[in-house]
Protein backbone atom coordinates (compact mmCIF):
# COMPACT_ATOMS: atom_id res chain seq x y z
CA UNK A 1 0.00 0.00 0.00
CA UNK A 2 2.85 2.39 0.82
CA UNK A 3 4.18 1.90 -2.71
CA UNK A 4 0.95 3.37 -4.06
CA UNK A 5 0.28 6.01 -1.43
CA UNK A 6 3.69 7.71 -1.19
CA UNK A 7 4.13 8.71 -4.89
CA UNK A 8 0.60 10.09 -5.09
CA UNK A 9 1.14 12.06 -1.86
CA UNK A 10 4.45 13.38 -3.21
CA UNK A 11 2.80 14.48 -6.46
CA UNK A 12 0.10 16.27 -4.48
CA UNK A 13 2.65 18.13 -2.33
CA UNK A 14 4.57 19.03 -5.51
CA UNK A 15 1.49 20.63 -7.07
CA UNK A 16 0.64 22.45 -3.85
CA UNK A 17 4.14 23.92 -3.62
CA UNK A 18 4.05 24.92 -7.31
CA UNK A 19 0.77 26.71 -6.64
CA UNK A 20 2.22 28.54 -3.64
CA UNK A 21 5.32 29.59 -5.61
CA UNK A 22 3.05 30.88 -8.36
CA UNK A 23 0.94 32.75 -5.81
CA UNK A 24 4.03 34.44 -4.43
CA UNK A 25 5.95 35.13 -7.64
CA UNK A 26 3.52 35.88 -10.49
CA UNK A 27 2.91 39.54 -11.34
CA UNK A 28 -0.86 40.19 -11.19
CA UNK A 29 -4.00 38.79 -9.61
CA UNK A 30 -5.20 36.95 -12.71
CA UNK A 31 -1.99 34.98 -13.21
CA UNK A 32 -1.87 34.23 -9.47
CA UNK A 33 -5.37 32.81 -9.83
CA UNK A 34 -4.16 30.70 -12.75
CA UNK A 35 -1.45 29.18 -10.55
CA UNK A 36 -3.61 28.55 -7.52
CA UNK A 37 -6.40 26.72 -9.31
CA UNK A 38 -3.89 24.05 -10.31
CA UNK A 39 -2.88 23.79 -6.68
CA UNK A 40 -6.51 23.48 -5.62
CA UNK A 41 -7.65 20.83 -8.07
CA UNK A 42 -4.55 18.69 -8.64
CA UNK A 43 -2.85 19.14 -5.27
CA UNK A 44 -5.89 18.62 -3.09
CA UNK A 45 -7.27 15.96 -5.44
CA UNK A 46 -4.08 13.89 -5.43
CA UNK A 47 -3.54 14.12 -1.66
CA UNK A 48 -7.15 13.18 -0.94
CA UNK A 49 -6.89 10.34 -3.48
CA UNK A 50 -3.82 9.06 -1.64
CA UNK A 51 -5.77 9.20 1.61
CA UNK A 52 -8.59 7.31 -0.12
CA UNK A 53 -6.15 4.56 -1.10
CA UNK A 54 -4.88 4.53 2.49
CA UNK A 55 -8.39 4.25 3.94
CA UNK A 56 -9.60 1.58 1.49
CA UNK A 57 -13.27 0.57 1.09
CA UNK A 58 -14.54 2.09 4.32
CA UNK A 59 -16.98 4.91 5.16
CA UNK A 60 -13.92 7.16 5.53
CA UNK A 61 -12.91 6.37 1.94
CA UNK A 62 -16.41 7.22 0.72
CA UNK A 63 -16.34 10.53 2.59
CA UNK A 64 -12.97 11.32 1.05
CA UNK A 65 -14.44 10.61 -2.40
CA UNK A 66 -17.28 13.02 -1.59
CA UNK A 67 -14.70 15.59 -0.51
CA UNK A 68 -12.78 15.22 -3.81
CA UNK A 69 -15.97 15.60 -5.86
CA UNK A 70 -17.01 18.64 -3.85
CA UNK A 71 -13.61 20.34 -4.13
CA UNK A 72 -13.47 19.67 -7.87
CA UNK A 73 -16.91 21.21 -8.28
CA UNK A 74 -16.46 24.26 -6.09
CA UNK A 75 -12.88 25.44 -6.50
CA UNK A 76 -12.94 26.16 -10.27
CA UNK A 77 -16.32 27.83 -9.74
CA UNK A 78 -14.90 30.02 -6.97
CA UNK A 79 -11.86 30.96 -9.07
CA UNK A 80 -14.14 31.85 -12.00
CA UNK A 81 -16.33 34.03 -9.80
CA UNK A 82 -13.32 35.83 -8.27
CA UNK A 83 -11.81 36.46 -11.73
CA UNK A 84 -15.11 37.78 -13.08
CA UNK A 85 -15.57 40.05 -10.07
CA UNK A 86 -12.00 41.35 -10.37
CA UNK A 87 -12.41 42.04 -14.11
CA UNK A 88 -15.79 43.74 -13.77
CA UNK A 89 -14.91 45.83 -10.72
CA UNK A 90 -12.31 47.59 -12.93
CA UNK A 91 -9.79 48.22 -10.16
CA UNK A 92 -7.55 45.17 -10.50
CA UNK A 93 -4.69 46.15 -12.84
CA UNK A 94 -3.04 43.81 -15.35
CA UNK A 95 0.72 43.46 -15.26
CA UNK A 96 3.05 45.43 -17.55
CA UNK A 97 2.98 44.39 -21.19
CA UNK A 98 -0.30 42.48 -21.16
CA UNK A 99 -2.93 43.23 -23.81
CA UNK A 100 -6.50 42.18 -24.45
CA UNK A 101 -7.97 40.38 -27.45
CA UNK A 102 -11.51 41.22 -26.37
CA UNK A 103 -12.94 43.43 -29.13
CA UNK A 104 -16.47 43.75 -27.76
CA UNK A 105 -17.72 47.01 -26.36
CA UNK A 106 -16.39 47.58 -22.87
CA UNK A 107 -13.75 44.87 -23.31
CA UNK A 108 -10.12 45.58 -23.92
CA UNK A 109 -9.98 48.30 -21.31
CA UNK A 110 -6.22 47.86 -21.00
Amino acid sequence: MAVLVIPVLAAGIFFFLIGVIGLLRLPDAYSRMHATTKCDTLGAGLILFALMLYAGFTPAGFKLLLLIVFIWLTNPTAAHVIARAAYRSNDVPFCEGSFSLDRTEGGGRQ
Binding site: L9, L23, P59, V81, I82
Partner: protein
Protein backbone atom coordinates in the same frame (compact mmCIF):
# COMPACT_ATOMS: atom_id res chain seq x y z
CA UNK B 1 5.66 4.44 8.91
CA UNK B 2 2.86 5.80 6.74
CA UNK B 3 1.49 7.72 9.72
CA UNK B 4 4.74 9.65 9.99
CA UNK B 5 4.64 10.45 6.27
CA UNK B 6 1.09 11.76 6.65
CA UNK B 7 2.22 13.95 9.57
CA UNK B 8 5.14 15.24 7.48
CA UNK B 9 2.68 16.08 4.68
CA UNK B 10 0.55 18.05 7.13
CA UNK B 11 3.62 19.95 8.35
CA UNK B 12 4.68 20.84 4.79
CA UNK B 13 1.15 22.03 3.99
CA UNK B 14 1.14 24.16 7.14
CA UNK B 15 4.37 25.86 6.05
CA UNK B 16 2.84 26.49 2.62
CA UNK B 17 -0.15 28.01 4.41
CA UNK B 18 2.15 30.52 6.10
CA UNK B 19 3.63 31.44 2.71
CA UNK B 20 0.07 32.03 1.43
CA UNK B 21 -0.57 34.17 4.50
CA UNK B 22 2.20 36.47 3.32
CA UNK B 23 0.34 37.06 0.06
CA UNK B 24 -2.91 37.58 1.98
CA UNK B 25 -1.24 40.28 4.08
CA UNK B 26 0.77 41.98 1.35
CA UNK B 27 -1.45 41.50 -1.72
CA UNK B 28 -1.91 44.81 -3.52
CA UNK B 29 -5.58 44.31 -4.42
CA UNK B 30 -8.54 42.71 -2.69
CA UNK B 31 -8.79 39.86 -5.19
CA UNK B 32 -5.21 38.78 -4.38
CA UNK B 33 -6.27 38.41 -0.79
CA UNK B 34 -9.42 36.50 -1.72
CA UNK B 35 -7.44 34.08 -3.93
CA UNK B 36 -4.93 33.54 -1.15
CA UNK B 37 -7.64 32.93 1.47
CA UNK B 38 -9.33 30.47 -0.90
CA UNK B 39 -6.09 28.49 -1.21
CA UNK B 40 -5.66 28.55 2.56
CA UNK B 41 -9.18 27.14 2.91
CA UNK B 42 -8.40 24.26 0.54
CA UNK B 43 -5.18 23.51 2.40
CA UNK B 44 -7.07 23.50 5.70
CA UNK B 45 -9.54 20.95 4.33
CA UNK B 46 -6.66 18.68 3.26
CA UNK B 47 -4.90 19.09 6.62
CA UNK B 48 -8.10 18.18 8.49
CA UNK B 49 -8.46 15.05 6.34
CA UNK B 50 -4.82 14.09 7.03
CA UNK B 51 -5.24 14.59 10.78
CA UNK B 52 -8.44 12.56 10.69
CA UNK B 53 -6.68 9.54 9.17
CA UNK B 54 -3.59 9.89 11.38
CA UNK B 55 -5.58 9.89 14.63
CA UNK B 56 -8.31 7.49 13.37
CA UNK B 57 -11.11 9.94 14.11
CA UNK B 58 -13.52 9.54 11.20
CA UNK B 59 -15.88 12.32 12.21
CA UNK B 60 -13.15 14.87 11.39
CA UNK B 61 -13.97 14.15 7.73
CA UNK B 62 -17.44 15.60 8.30
CA UNK B 63 -15.73 18.68 9.71
CA UNK B 64 -13.62 18.87 6.53
CA UNK B 65 -16.74 18.63 4.33
CA UNK B 66 -18.51 21.40 6.23
CA UNK B 67 -15.35 23.54 6.17
CA UNK B 68 -15.10 23.19 2.38
CA UNK B 69 -18.77 24.19 2.04
CA UNK B 70 -18.43 27.26 4.27
CA UNK B 71 -15.20 28.33 2.53
CA UNK B 72 -16.93 28.14 -0.87
CA UNK B 73 -19.91 30.19 0.31
CA UNK B 74 -17.61 32.79 1.88
CA UNK B 75 -15.60 33.12 -1.34
CA UNK B 76 -18.76 33.56 -3.42
CA UNK B 77 -20.04 36.19 -1.00
CA UNK B 78 -16.83 38.20 -0.96
CA UNK B 79 -16.56 38.03 -4.77
CA UNK B 80 -20.12 39.31 -5.12
CA UNK B 81 -19.34 42.12 -2.71
CA UNK B 82 -16.23 43.04 -4.72
CA UNK B 83 -18.22 43.11 -7.95
CA UNK B 84 -21.25 45.10 -6.85
CA UNK B 85 -20.03 47.00 -3.82
CA UNK B 86 -23.00 45.67 -1.85
CA UNK B 87 -24.54 42.35 -0.90
CA UNK B 88 -27.97 42.19 -2.47
Amino acid sequence: MLDKILIATAVVLTMATFLCLFRAAAGPTASDRVVSINVIGTKTVVIIALVSLVFHQEFFLDVALVYALISFVATIGVAKYMEKGALE
